[in-house]
């Protein structure tokens, strides 16, 4: 009886071991980033099945930055829905999940850790601080992080595997905008005001370097948290300093509050207010004092108003985000992602990244983005910065400037149209 029992136990143990081995085998076949082959010969990849491609984003959906940020992923969702309604990408529907991180790097990291083993790629969203917190984890896992709105240089300079962005860094934008201002109005003194978007110190220092090398001078700078209640004290400082230019890198709502404080205090600079693409948002357009229109010049990653022929322009027309540049960026970025997926023959993470790194003057979203180029060592796609001015409830392009990380490059801008 006892022998029989032991034999049964051994059989049960052997069975359990086989079951465990089978289970482990099944699990290892789906390991992240494996890119191995299934029994049918098709390439298996995390987040990709025969009929679905799973994408995700960690976005600022609550807190002071939510108003400016949320439209980008909302518009991306609209575009993915449109693609799905038309049959998907090569028969696969796009499943897009967005989680709120409240612009909190730790929450963003937690979101990402939940995505790595189940989603194919991360869709970029607002937030330099969050992008900086998550890019290493994504890069190490081999998970593509496509087109975040990021101002932290270390995320893309030098190029991190899998991390690709379209928008120039804020530090390079402030440098370009100072060059543009000096070209248009002559060199002069600058006062720099920034929200802590990305590496804001470098945005200040690059503006200062360009101003001083261009025959101008640096007066002072101020750093204001996003959601600052009252910009009057800074406007008073600027009024006293009386600079030729105010250079700013601020979120949409804060830009509007700041510009309105300059108007209220009669503190607009003599020549121009020069801003980065962070200000080019619907939240600025809906709130700024139009008395400042003539003096405001922002760098923009996209052409504004966008071409009526573009799918995104048509998709957003008449909806909630019709005039919101952030929504256009979100939609056009989604266009780029879908295009990259279409161009990738066997859909693995590595193949997708190789496709994007091969783009040379690729027209991913005609009439919204200028053509983009990437390489294995250059992970910033756009080489053109549009200069826009607010015109009522829209922005309009008034010049195009070649964007370059090279400070000594020819920065001559050409008038639009």
């Amino acid at each position: 009886m006892r022998i029989a029992f032991n034999r049964s136990a051994k059989l049960a143990g052997a069975g359990a071991a086989v079951a465990l081995a089978l289970a482990l085998g099944a699990c290892s076949g789906g390991s992240p980033g494996a890119g191995g082959e299934t029994s049918g010969g098709a390439v298996a990849e995390v987040g990709v099945t025969a009929d679905t491609i799973r994408l995700a984003a960690s976005q600022t959906l609550s807190g002071p930055g939510a108003a400016s940020c949320a439209p980008s992923t909302d518009a991306a969702q609209l575009y993915f829905d449109k693609v799905n309604d038309e049959g998907g990408v090569d028969g696969r529907k796009i499943d897009f999940e967005v989680l709120d991180d409240g612009y909190d790097p730790q929450r963003a990291l937690a979101n990402v850790r939940g995505f790595i083993d189940s989603k194919f790629a991360m869709v970029g969203a607002c937030g330099s601080a969050t992008a900086a917190a998550i890019y290493r984890t994504l890069s190490d896992a081999g998970m593509p992080f496509l087109f975040p709105t990021n101002g932290v240089a270390e995320v893309v300079k030098p190029a991190s595997p899998g991390i690709l962005q379209l928008l120039p860094l804020y530090e390079d934008q402030t440098a370009s905008m100072v060059r543009y201002g000096f070209e248009e109005f002559g060199s002069g003194s600058i006062f720099v005001v920034v929200n802590p978007l990305g590496e804001y110190e470098s945005a200040i220092s690059r503006a200062r370097e360009v101003a001083e090398s261009g025959g101008g001078s640096f007066v002072d700078s101020a750093v204001a948290q996003l959601g600052t209640t009252d910009y009057t004290p800074i406007a008073l400082q600027i009024k006293e300093a009386d600079p030729d230019f105010v250079v700013m890198s601020m979120g949409g709502s804060d830009s509007a509050k700041f510009v309105n404080a300059l108007v209220d205090q009669n503190a607009l600079p003599r020549s121009a207010v020069l801003g980065t693409s962070a200000s080019v948002a619907g939240s600025f357009l809906s709130s700024y004092n139009t008395a400042a229109s003539d003096k405001v010049y922002f760098g923009s990653a996209i052409q504004l108003p966008p071409s009526a022929e573009n799918e995104c322009t048509q998709l957003l027309a008449g909806g909630d985000f019709a005039n919101d540049p952030i929504a256009l960026i979100g939609c056009a970025s989604a266009q780029a992602i879908v295009e990259a997926i279409r161009q990738t023959p066997e859909l693995t993470r590595a193949n997708l990244l190789a496709t994007i790194e091969s783009w040379d003057e690729e027209d991913i979203s005609p009439g919204i983005f200028a053509p983009v180029s990437f390489s294995a060592t250059d992970h910033i796609g756009l080489k053109t910065l549009y200069v826009v001015q607010p015109q009522g409830t829209e922005f309009g392009v008034i010049a195009e400037c070649p964007y370059s990380e090279d400070e000594n490059a020819d920065a001559s801008c050409t008038p639009a149209g």
Binding site: S62, G63, P64, A66, A67, A70, P71, D74, A222, V223, A224, Q225, G227, T228, T229, D230, T232, P233, I234, L236, Q237, K239, E240, S253, A256, K257, N260, D264, Q265, N266, G282, S283, S286, S287, D320
Partner: protein
């Protein structure tokens, strides 16, 4: 020196705004002993109601505001009966936590209804260039806020100081059981206080929205300074709320122009800590006496 004087003057203006928000919190605290953390979201909700009446119903702003005030007063009463009154004996800490929950709930509702397109440019009640003192310009809307703050403070002070209702409010807050034994209608008084508090919130929201831009989280940044101001001035004193808030406004603005924006916040909270350690009842608050 001129810059510091200008910063101080602009600090008085923003301090009056903090003080107005503080009035509603102090009034409720004086009447019910509860620190209402939902005051900011109640204010924002009232401003959104006025906004919806203008944009959706096509009413002029000056017609929409009185309707929003009435609606918010009724909503304040409803909040009292639904959120505050059930198991009211659970204690002030319990009730205070309920106001936090209410604040989060209202915030979520506003995000759901209006969040997608926020912030909104809000129409100003008054137009004009304002006046210049030293090198600072006080816009017409700021002058209106100062005027309304003064009127509200005088009215509330008179209410608590000279009227039977005010005396009843104070009695209810300080000795609720005794007040009930003496025949005060506690439920009715408390409901009225919540209604009045919500009306005050809407006044603040409507006045603030043109400069802060209407958004569900519009009041978040202001509440920190407001609570600092009213604790500094004394949680039970209306003039103290105004004084504390104006001090916060002046100190923070002067520190900003002297050092940086971060310094403005640091100095304010340093003062708060010192006052709480040295004079916990605040500058004009009364020390609570406990009979042993």
């Amino acid at each position: 020196m001129g810059l510091y004087i200008s910063a101080a003057i602009s600090g008085i203006a923003v301090g009056l705004l903090y003080g107005m928000i503080g009035f509603a919190i102090v009034m409720l605290y004086k009447s019910t002993g509860v620190a209402n953390f939902a005051q900011g979201t109640l204010a924002t909700l009232g401003a959104f109601v006025a906004w919806a009446l203008v944009t959706d119903a096509g009413l002029p702003l000056l017609a929409a505001i009185p309707i929003a005030l009435i609606a918010s007063g009724m909503f304040g009463v409803i909040v009292y009966f639904v959120v505050i009154r059930p198991r009211a004996s659970a204690g002030n800490l319990n009730i205070t936590v309920r106001t936090l929950g209410l604040s989060l709930l209202l915030l979520a509702v506003m995000e759901w209804r209006w969040g997608a397109l926020a912030p909104y440019r809000y129409p100003t009640i008054v137009q004009g260039d304002g006046i210049q003192i030293a090198s600072v310009v006080l816009p017409a809307q700021t002058l209106l806020i100062a005027g309304v703050a003064a009127v509200i403070m005088v009215l509330l002070w008179a209410l608590f100081r000279y009227t039977r209702a005010g005396l009843s409010f104070r009695a209810l807050a300080e000795q609720p059981d005794t007040a009930r034994l003496l025949g005060l209608r506690a439920t009715r008084l408390s409901a009225a206080t919540w209604g009045l508090s919500a009306i005050l919130g809407t006044i603040v929201g409507v006045l603030l929205a043109p400069s802060a831009f209407l958004a569900p989280s519009m009041m978040e940044s202001y509440l920190l300074f407001t609570f600092t101001g009213i604790v500094l001035g004394g949680l039970t004193s209306l003039p103290g709320a105004l004084l504390g808030s104006v001090i916060v406004g002046i100190v923070s603005n002067v520190a900003i122009v002297a050092f940086s924006l971060e310094a403005g916040v640091l100095v304010v909270f340093a003062i708060l800590l010192i006052v709480m350690a040295v004079r916990p009842q605040g500058l004009l608050g009364k020390q609570e006496a406990v009979r042993l």
